[in-house]
């Protein structure tokens, strides 16, 4: 049971690592393309002071900040849930061990004790 759980957790990590790698590669790519630096546009429009740029044209700092805090808290809560569930499973398994131990003790007592 525990081995299976850890194996599942291992696979989850593997998927996470691959996903993060792919996302980082994609981000690096889109980051380069999505950057505000566009020579053609600059030649066309010239240098525009930041104050005159409409709010919608700017990189949304507030959204990025919220995304960062949300991602952080999702990770923390996910880990907390994982810990509490694993703890509950371990508690159950310890109960099972105790039940088997009591059962064995009863059998030994009924059989006249082991020497």
């Amino acid at each position: 049971m525990m081995g299976k759980m850890w194996s599942c957790a291992g696979h989850l990590w593997a998927v996470l690592v691959v996903a993060c790698g792919a996302a980082a590669a994609a981000w690096a790519e889109t980051g380069a393309q999505g950057s505000d630096y566009d020579p053609a546009r600059l030649s066309r429009e010239g240098f525009v002071p930041a104050e005159r740029v409409a709010l919608g044209d700017q990189v949304p700092g507030g959204t990025l900040m919220l995304a960062a805090y949300l991602a952080g808290w999702v990770l923390f809560f996910a880990y907390l849930v994982f810990l509490l569930r694993a703890q509950r499973d371990v508690g159950r398994e310890l109960g099972e061990v105790r039940r088997r131990m009591d059962e064995l003790d009863e059998r030994i007592e009924e059989g006249g004790g082991a020497s």
Partner: protein, 245 residues
């Protein structure tokens, strides 16, 4: 069976730690969003700083703890040292993941790109991958002695990356500003208060996760030990019955 009782009812101090962590986190978030001012050039996105930097320090703390316990395990193998090493690695990876997720979100606004080939970023990514590999080996290799020893060596190698991160900052600087440890003006007193509160909150969160993970590790060890004990007693009882027959 001591572990059974321990897991059944959480100790009062653990409940206290959880409560204190909750309060500290809310206070820190309140200070970050309502007290600390926004930075002049980066604006509101700079508030990621209060999550990003303490998370990085907690990740280092987790990895250092893992390394220390691994050294102890290699010198004097014991399940206790092994459980602590694994807990340190797991919690360290959690906080390092937060660093690697929040960093690009901040960089997109501040640098205009999600990721750059800066040595500090690459070395941090490598460190995270080393400890993810550590956890993968632990998950796949089970509870064998050899797995535990190989992982202990891996943890020491992983921590050797931390001085390289520091060296990369001093040697190549990169795009990361040195506002805390640098010789510049540093941060404003209001920002300093919010940062200190964040360090306290994230430190308590780190301690809470670490304690819960260590308790879980001891519980898992107790389950293994319990099953071994039951099996040994069953074999002994069967042998007695056979002898009597």
């Amino acid at each position: 069976m001591q572990a059974w009782k321990t897991l059944e009812r959480p100790a009062p101090w653990l409940v206290g730690l959880a409560g204190l962590t909750g309060v500290a986190v809310w206070v820190a978030l309140g200070l970050v969003f309502f007290y600390a001012p926004s930075e002049r050039t980066m604006g509101v996105v700079q508030k990621i700083f209060y999550l990003h930097v303490p998370s990085a320090i907690m990740a280092y703390a987790g990895f250092f703890l893992c390394c220390g316990a691994s050294v102890v395990y290699l010198l004097r193998p014991s399940p206790k040292a092994d459980v602590i090493a694994r807990a340190g690695a797991e919690v360290g990876v959690l906080f390092c993941t937060v660093v690697l997720v929040t960093g690009p979100l901040w960089a997109r606004k501040a640098w205009g790109t999600w990721w750059t080939g800066e040595p500090r970023l690459l070395l941090t990514l490598i460190m995270a991958l080393i400890f993810v590999a550590y956890l993968l080996v632990r998950a796949v290799g089970g509870r064998r002695e050899m797995t535990r020893k190989v992982c202990a060596v891996l943890a020491i190698l992983g921590v050797a990356d931390i001085p390289l991160v520091r060296l990369s900052v001093e040697r190549w600087r990169g795009a990361h500003p040195q506002v805390i440890s640098g010789e510049g003006a540093g941060i404003s007193p209001e920002m300093q208060v919010a940062l200190t509160a964040s360090f306290v909150a994230w430190g308590l969160l780190f301690a809470l996760f670490l304690v819960l993970r260590i308790r879980l590790g001891f519980g898992q060890e107790a389950v293994e030990e319990g099953y071994r004990l039951v099996q040994a007693r069953e074999h002994a009882w069967e042998a007695t019955l056979e002898k009597r027959a």
